[in-house]
């Protein structure tokens, strides 16, 4: 059994851990609000962009000559997966959930004998994937230095992807991220961005009587690269809200667990203190009796 002194030390160490987790929870809660706001503000842009592209692509007359970013290369051999995770740990299952989802997808691809390439965004994802898929990772990106998520960063990732696409390094591109639903639920998502999936339900059944200036395909070829950056940006925003939410609930749990542990240790401490006193009393009494 642990001595009284040891127990005392453990109690104080658990207490200071609790203080840290509590503080982290507070910070995450404050950041979450901001991140959530940003994610919500960013939604109209990506939604509008998506709508315009849907309208455009349904209006395009010559499907054969459609831009490659929309229709794909016509092959399905090399898959590029962009796994987007956080740069910091201590956020519960946030990163693990994404990589788990991604790994399922990787296995499916490898089973079909296709080539797999991975880009990781965020250092935690790289750490988790490098053990198993080191030779598949072609690039790792991290935005540790930029404090806030900005479109500029997303654009950088988008340009890297498009660059590789134009060099014909892959045929299909999928991004993995966590979608923020609420503080306790984040849903890991896989979203194919190249070729663009247009079979989503259309919001309005427009008869697409648009006038285009310049031509449809010219607009499309300008728009599609932007759309990729936009989708990445959206994923980044959702991710950051999810990260903070996940961290908040993880730290909340940790604080509660630490509290429970302190209670348990305190009871143990008091019991053994009592036991020691009782033992001493018995010794004194029996000593006095023997006289």
């Amino acid at each position: 059994m642990a001595s009284l002194d040891d127990l005392k030390k453990r109690i104080s160490s658990v207490k200071s851990t609790q203080k840290i987790t509590k503080a982290m929870k507070m910070v995450a809660a404050a950041k979450l609000r901001k991140a959530q706001e940003n994610a919500e503000k960013g939604r109209p842009y990506s939604k509008k962009m998506n709508n315009i592209i849907l309208n455009l692509s349904s209006g395009i007359s010559d499907k054969e000559n459609a831009p490659k970013l929309l229709s794909g290369t016509g092959e399905d051999k090399t898959h590029l997966c962009v796994v987007m995770t956080s740069d910091r740990g201590l956020c519960g299952g946030f990163n693990t959930n994404i990589t788990k989802k991604a790994k399922q997808y990787f296995q499916k691809i490898l089973k079909e004998n296709k080539v797999l390439k991975i880009i990781t965004v965020g250092s935690k994802g790289y750490d988790q994937l490098k053990r198993q898929y080191k030779e598949n990772i072609v690039e790792k990106i991290s935005f540790k230095d930029s404090k806030n998520i900005n479109y500029f960063d997303a654009d950088k990732v988008g340009k890297i992807i498009i660059d590789r696409f134009e060099k014909k390094e892959f045929d299909v591109c999928t991004i993995f991220y966590n979608q923020f639903k609420n503080v306790i639920t984040q849903i890991p998502q896989e979203q194919q961005i190249i070729p663009l999936k247009t079979n989503e339900e259309k919001e309005t059944n427009s008869d697409s009587s648009y006038e285009f200036e310049p031509e449809e395909d010219e607009i499309l070829s300008n728009l599609l690269p932007k759309n990729i950056s936009t989708q990445i940006f959206k994923a980044m925003l959702e991710n950051s809200a999810s990260e903070q939410g996940s961290r908040m609930s993880a730290m909340d749990n940790a604080t509660r667990n630490a509290g429970e542990m302190v209670d348990k240790l305190t009871i143990q401490y008091n019991r053994s203190r009592q036991a020691a006193i009782t033992k001493e009393l018995i010794e004194i009494i029996s000593g006095a009796e023997s006289l």
Binding site: K41, P44, E213, I219, K226
Partner: protein, 132 residues
Amino acid sequence: MSEEFKVEIVNPEKSFLSEENVTEVIIPAFEGEMGILKDHISIISFLKPGIIKVYSKSEEKKYFVEDGIVEFKDNNLSILTSSIFKISDLDRNKIDQIVKDAEKETAVDNIDDQKKYLIDQKIEVLKNLNLN
């Protein structure tokens, strides 16, 4: 009947401007300036660097954009852009800074024509702005 329609300018971070009652919007479309009034035909176009002017009955607002996409449909004008500034927020220093950055970009050797054209446009617009 009212002559007013709705305009919305969004950038990736947020909804930049949303107004219900504008009478005319002038946008720097890729193939020339375009004025949009109520009941304009549905159109999709994209922007080159220039000034967006938003007129309502009581006031006039001006914005500088670098690029973007415009969609007009059912009397809803949506402008998606990644870089937009309200002109009243810009001062000379800021303008000079943007111009300087742009000039640096054109100085690169292997720049393609379209890009160069766009940047030149941007510089020109900004320089003219200075005179105001």
